[in-house]
């Protein structure tokens, strides 16, 4: 039978296969009572530096694992391994973001019996990772203030979808023309609920607030208060 020209209504989510896998990852984290966070920021914002400074403080009370996303190298995982936490490197081979299937593949490589917190450091990029759910409980942005106070308004999607933003490199504030008031105003206009931390990974300022907040989040998650 000749059917001719016709329209087929589909209405399918393009991220369906990613989102389905992300839900399975989320169930895995829940089953193991481990809070998973997705850390996103531009190249050079200080994501790995923040981990280097945070891990010695977090591991005093928590069992922490790290998944490192990178396009080609294992440089970040090598930096993290020094802190004696389990770390797995994912190389995306040119891909600009991690997706839920890549994360799922490495989950069996960890010992989950005592894991409290899994930090997933995404590929350095403020755009693409925003659309891909990995199964995390929430997203955290690392933005260095030297990137400019206009960045939140230029990349609103990620700021809308994050639970916290770490404004890094605060030690450089006086050396730049960055307008902190304007930067924070824009962040809060996009996401009034977001938590803002002002940090210097270089001199350690502001780290305690971030660590206390994150530790409380782990606690709330494990006690099902999230």
């Amino acid at each position: 039978m000749e059917l001719g020209r016709r329209e087929i209504e589909v209405m399918a989510n393009l991220l369906n296969s990613n989102d389905t896998q992300a839900e399975k990852n989320r169930a895995h984290f829940r089953k193991n009572n481990c809070l998973a966070i997705n850390m996103i920021g531009s190249p050079g914002a200080g994501k790995t530096s923040l981990l280097e400074k945070s891990l010695p403080l977090l591991t005093r009370n928590l069992c922490v694992g790290v998944i490192e996303g990178d396009i080609f190298t294992s440089k970040d995982a090598d930096r993290i391994a020094i802190y004696e936490v389990p770390v797995i490197q994912i190389n995306t081979g040119g891909g600009c973001h991690l997706d839920s299937k890549m994360v799922n593949k490495v989950l069996p490589d960890f010992d989950w019996t005592a894991m409290d917190l899994m930090i997933i450091e995404n590929v350095g990029n403020l755009v693409c990772p925003a659309d891909f759910d990995l199964g995390e409980q929430f997203k955290v942005i690392v933005l260095s203030i030297v990137e400019g106070d206009d960045k939140p308004s230029k990349y609103p999607v990620i700021f809308r979808n994050a639970e916290a933003v770490i404004l890094n490199k605060m030690d450089l504030e006086k050396l730049t023309d960055v307008n902190m008031e304007s930067m924070k105003r824009d962040i809060l206009a996009i996401n009034p609920e977001i938590r803002i931390f002002e940090v210097s990974c270089r001199n350690g300022d502001g780290l305690n607030d971030w660590i206390n907040w994150l530790s409380q989040k782990v606690n709330d998650y494990q006690e099902h208060k999230d």
Partner: protein
């Protein structure tokens, strides 16, 4: 350039759809792309051309409908269009709002023969 990944999703849906229908050729593909996503129409177009090569969708027209961001205030229930990514109710300045549309990444329909 995550539009290539998104286009992978488009073609997964196309293949699944045409396997259930008697289709010789795909003529038009309609997408709905919310402004609160990071999918860029020109990059989607380029990715579509790359993906459709040597398939029954080669040469098909890709139509991308951009969907503006609309939110509803959870306090006064006012629906409003979110301009310049400023997420406050213009009526009561409440920040607790629900996004109603603008986050979609959908394959709406296919025109086939």
């Amino acid at each position: 350039m995550h539009e290539m990944s998104l286009m992978g999703g488009v073609f997964e849906v196309i293949e699944q759809t045409i396997s259930q229908h008697n289709v010789k050729k795909v003529i038009q593909v309609k997408l709905k792309v919310g402004e609160l996503t990071n999918a860029e129409p020109d990059a989607l177009q380029m990715a579509f051309e790359a993906y459709s090569k040597d398939t029954i969708a080669e040469g098909a027209e890709l139509i991308i409908e951009r969907v503006g961001v609309i939110a509803r205030c959870t306090k006064c229930q006012k629906e409003f269009s979110v301009k310049s990514m400023f997420f406050l109710c213009p009526n009561c300045e409440n920040s607790n709002i629900k996004i109603i549309c603008g986050e979609e990444l959908l394959l709406e329909s296919l025109e086939v023969e």
